[in-house]
């Protein structure tokens, strides 16, 4: 590829000299241009965080399978008809796992990344307020996260990165708060904070909100273009509607969402058209891969525009495997594996593999026991952290897959041994949040060891 600086000059030239089509540059576009010009030396410091949300609660314990011995027998007894028959062994550098441990066949790509040292597996992580043991729970000696096992509440708790304090009526998520502390300027280019899969709270800050983009198309408003009267409608709508304030708070909120939609879509359409296609096939019939392809494009644009930080949210539904799990879960794991592997390959192709860290979140882990042909809502589970800066390893405690061990509640609902906030703190620190700010971002962090670190060399 061209030297990045040359590419950026070409990009600027294109935008400033007519590449924007008939539309005059809006004030937002002008401020974007200024941002680009001001940041011409910042490319050595670029980082992106990509959250891959697995909606519904991934049975993440069943991504890993003991290789042999008692651990395997226990697994099979507990899992019954949902036990996996095969796995490819991985060798964590930092710990010995009884009976060995492997990734199920659908995750072969993840095994490759693990072996190369570019994938971390965080074992048994979940929402916690304090370190919590089974005895504590039985004795009611510890405060537990509210509304465990409820999809929406637990999704929110993961996305917000804080236990939902009862009095906490704010809506912020930890990426939004990270953006808030890293920049005082709330007029950052809209592609700094993008969701490709609809609303989430992870990206909500006091001074930032996600821009929503479709994975497959970026449409611009038909009402504004190439029809008779378009030139009359556009100024009417822009000046008298979208640039008006409304005293009605719902109307104003709606207006805030849509008022820049056309400008942004135009800018995005024009910018995307400048990118040369990467010579890597997007896995077919894989909506997650399509979303991640869009993210790679936005990373390229972000770097061209001189952004130093970006966050992205993508997601895949269908993980709530109450039934038919033996069929459905492997299919989902294949989609996840193929999408993440593809995503990483695009990073290698554009040379950003050390600048992008992706990670999974999910509502909760699931019961280790079967309800006949599926599993029910659980608590702790495993998550992936992927990137060239990641130190590949198995992190945390990997409890045995039995329903009665010291980490298991009724039915095999696993008590997390690492708090989600510990996992997030490592990601946020890598992203650039200072140690002081971490404690503000994650209100329960101070109650846990803060040595979870997926990035530093040992």
């Amino acid at each position: 590829m061209n030297h990045p600086l040359d590419e950026r000059r070409a990009f600027l030239k294109h935008i400033l000299y007519g590449g924007m089509g008939v539309a005059a540059l809006s004030s937002m576009q002008m401020s974007l241009m200024n941002a680009v010009l001001a940041q011409s030396n910042s490319e050595s410091d670029y980082k992106a965080l990509v959250c891959v949300f697995l909606f519904g609660g991934n049975d993440s314990y069943n991504m890993l399978r003991p290789m042999e011995g008692e651990a395997l027998t226990d697994y099979q007894m507990t899992r019954q008809n949902l036990a996996r028959s095969q796995a490819f062994e991985i060798s964590p550098g930092s710990q010995q796992v009884d009976g060995g441990i492997g990734l199920v066949p659908e995750l072969l790509g993840m095994k490759t990344l693990f072996d190369q040292g570019n994938l971390a597996i965080q074992a048994n992580v979940g929402t916690l307020i304090r370190p919590t043991s089974k005895t504590d729970i039985i004795n009611k000696a510890v405060v537990l996260p509210a509304d465990l096992y409820a999809h929406n509440s637990q999704q929110l708790t993961w996305q917000r990165g804080a236990e939902l304090n009862q009095k906490d009526t704010g809506q912020t998520g930890w990426a939004g708060r990270a953006i808030d502390v890293l920049q005082s300027n709330s007029n950052a280019p809209f592609i700094q904070n993008v969701s490709v899969t609809g609303h989430n709270n992870w990206q909500v800050g006091m001074n930032t909100a996600a821009y929503h983009v479709d994975a497959e198309t970026v449409e611009t408003m038909n009402i504004y273009k190439h029809h008779a009267y378009a030139a009359i409608r556009k100024p009417i709508l822009e000046q008298h509607i979208y640039h008006t304030s409304f005293s009605h708070l719902l109307a104003q909120s709606y207006n805030e969402v849509v008022k820049n939609a056309e400008d942004n879509a135009q800018l995005l359409t024009n910018s995307l058209s400048l990118l040369s296609p990467l010579d890597i096939d997007v896995p077919s019939n894989n909506t997650l891969a399509l979303q991640l392809a869009r993210v790679t494009d936005l990373i390229r644009l972000g770097k061209l525009q001189g952004l130093s930080r970006q966050v992205f949210f993508v997601g895949l539904g269908g993980w709530d495997s109450h039934n038919n799990q033996a069929t459905n879960h492997p299919k989902l794991l294949t989609l996840l594996n193929d999408a993440l592997l593809y995503f990483y390959q695009t990073h290698l192709a554009i040379g950003v593999e050390n600048e992008v860290t992706s990670f999974t979140m999910s509502d909760f882990g699931r019961t280790l026991t079967s309800n006949g042909d599926g599993t029910d809502h659980g608590w702790g589970g495993h998550q992936f952290i992927m990137g060239g800066s990641v130190r590949g390893d198995l992190y945390g405690i990997l409890p045995p897959q039995t329903a009665t061990n010291e980490y298991a509640l009724n039915g095999g609902r696993m008590i997390p041994t690492t708090a989600s906030e510990q996992m997030f703190a490592s990601l946020a620190a890598w992203y650039g949040v200072s140690e002081t700010d971490l404690v503000t971002l994650f209100p329960n962090l101070e109650h846990f060891d803060q040595d979870v670190d997926y990035f530093s060399a040992v």
Binding site: L237, H240, H248
Partner: protein, 574 residues
């Protein structure tokens, strides 16, 4: 049914004379009589015979009638505005409560495909032209509370089952919530969606499936936390919310929902597959957990009960829970009138949920009437001018326009494709059992005011553009009066603009058109600034046309409607 009435009504429209009222009463009477014939429908006691004498009818303004029709129907039209005015608001609601249900399944004229377009042709027909507007609007609201979706469990292959599920909502929309829960629980569509179909009692280390038990409690009946009658959450001594149930409760309710399978699975075995997604599930007591089951509020289902007896007992247990009335009432209020009801409003409606005046709990007709007649519903736009109301969800924006402009279906296929993708919303196609949006959704700005706006959750940049791009051509080029027969598209509805054009061509036409649009689209609440904007648009287009020596009043009207449809003043129902 009332074709004669409609005809005369059109002729003498807006003269409000006694003749109309008499004919209308005749109409009402026949509807009521036919409602009585429909034993499935269980109409509430008809208030028909107590219609207020004409001289005592309270005057209902055009705007008040239009506002009601935004809340209680799929949008106003001149005809429906006049009907509300003739009857008065309460009598109009009472009349609606007596109308027989329009079921969706019988309206289907084509083979189902594995897409939703055929199924939804019935949804559009009933929303746009059904007489039983209130029932249909309630059914739509309930479809977003008792959620099933074609996007899971391969239900997109079961469109006949899905439409029957919707008809259960239609059937019980003004009936009793307990009956509705019973019907929904035994629907094979729900059974597949929330996986209690085929759920068997424990065997070895295999446990009952908890899915339906959990979502029934969390989403369909009592919610996560103990509530006061006004919908506010109770606090314990540590000022924490109090969970309404525990994991142990879920495991107990999971045992209740064991032993149900298709009515006639292949080989008559539990639980083989079946193509019949319509007939209610049947109990197989050998697979039902017959241990005693502790429920909520200290109740216990005794051992050795049948699956059906356990089901009835469990639903009674939930109906008796103090959360039920505020939890369901608040959600119905949010679907019909306002995203931010006051605690007092919730409390007043919840009391009606608990007792309809005849010691019956869960009378949804009475609840709907209480929601709509409440002073907050009627005067909230005045008393809470900056917060009352709700963002119209995309489908309601579409029905609103097509009803206001008396849109015509010019093609018998009537398939509106891909609405789910374009609108971000499609009946029975939510992303999950949590619906298209959360009842508690707020952005940071609204949260700082303590407000929520559920529908805002799906109003984002790309959705906004895709939705209005989808609607652009049908509005701009969809004038029924102008479309040549050979160009009629099977997936469009065609707006009628003639009455607007007639106004436009009369004296002070600009003002009259803007005021008519104000009434039809914004229930008379259009701001002075927006009126000026629309008049500016008229002026600009007129000079554009005049410069080209053309005169295109229908295009003018389409342009006005386009701008209104995009405007925040239309999008927020007040």
């Amino acid at each position: 049914m009332c074709a004669v009435f409609r005809m005369i009504f059109h002729i003498v429209f807006h003269q409000n004379n006694l003749l109309i009222l008499l004919i209308f009463i005749g109409c009402l009477y026949s509807s009521y009589a036919s409602a009585l014939d429909d034993s499935d429908d269980s109409p509430s006691v008809s208030p028909f015979l107590t219609i207020t004498p004409i001289q005592a009818l309270p005057a209902v303004s055009d705007e008040e009638a239009a506002r009601l029709l935004q809340q209680a129907a799929f949008g106003p039209s001149l005809e429906s505005i006049a009907a509300v005015q003739v009857l008065g608001i309460e009598t109009w609601i009472d009349h609606q409560l007596t109308l027989p249900a329009t079921y969706h399944a019988p309206l289907i004229t084509q083979d189902y495909t594995h897409s939703s377009a055929v199924r939804l042709s019935a949804w559009w027909k009933t929303a746009l032209w059904g007489e039983d507007q209130l029932r249909q609007r309630m059914a739509f609201a309930l479809s977003q509370i008792l959620v099933v979706s074609q996007n899971a469990a391969k239900l997109y292959e079961r469109q006949a089952g899905l439409i029957h599920y919707y008809d259960l909502l239609v059937q019980h929309a003004l009936g009793n919530y307990n009956d509705l829960l019973h019907a929904v629980t035994l629907s094979p569509v729900m059974g597949k969606y929330l996986t209690h179909l085929g759920n068997a009692k424990a065997s070895g280390s295999i446990r009952p499936d908890e899915n339906y038990a959990r979502e029934l409690l969390q989403l369909f009946t009592i919610g996560l936390h103990e509530l006061n009658m006004d919908g506010s959450k109770k606090h314990d001594e540590l000022n924490q919310f109090i969970p309404a149930y525990t994991q142990t409760d879920i495991e107990s309710f999971a045992k209740v929902f064991t032993g149900w399978c298709f009515a006639a699975p292949t080989n008559d075995r539990f639980c083989n597959s079946s193509n019949d997604y319509v007939t209610p599930m049947r109990a197989w007591d050998d697979y039902h957990d017959q241990t005693a089951k502790p429920l909520l509020l200290g109740a216990v289902l005794p051992a050795m009960q049948s699956a059906e007896a356990d089901l009835l007992g469990a639903l009674d247990n939930l109906m008796a829970h103090p959360n039920m009335a505020p939890f369901i009432s608040e959600q119905l209020i949010k679907r019909l009138t306002t995203s931010n009801p006051s605690p007092e409003y919730i409390s007043r409606v919840a009391q009606v949920f608990n007792n309809n005046g005849h010691n019956i709990t869960g009378d949804l007709g009475a609840v709907a009437k209480a929601i709509l007649l409440d002073s907050e519903a009627r005067d909230g736009h005045v008393n809470f001018p900056n917060s009352f109301g709700k963002i119209k969800e995309p489908l309601l924006r579409m029905t609103h326009m097509w009803r206001a402009l008396e849109a015509l279906q010019l093609h018998d296929k009537f398939l509106i494709y891909n609405i789910g993708r374009s609108a971000g919303q499609e009946p029975l196609n939510a992303p999950s059992v949590f619906n298209f949006y959360s009842p508690d959704f707020a952005n940071a700005a609204l949260a700082s005011h303590g407000l929520v706006s559920p529908e805002l959750q799906i109003s984002h940049e790309s959705q906004f553009i895709e939705f209005y791009n989808y609607l652009f051509s049908p509005i701009r080029y969809g004038a029924a009066e102008l479309v040549p027969v050979e160009n009629v598209k099977s997936f469009w509805l065609y707006n009628q603009f003639t009455s607007l054009v007639t106004l436009y061509e009369s004296e002070n036409g600009d003002d009259l058109v803007v005021e008519r649009l104000n009434l039809l689209f914004i229930a008379g609440d259009m701001s002075v600034g927006f009126k000026a904007t629309l008049k500016q648009l008229i002026t600009d287009i007129r000079s554009y046309d005049e410069n080209r020596n053309t005169y295109k009043p229908y295009s003018m009207m389409a342009n006005l409607v386009l701008v209104i449809m995009l405007s925040p003043e239309f999008v927020v129902q007040r």
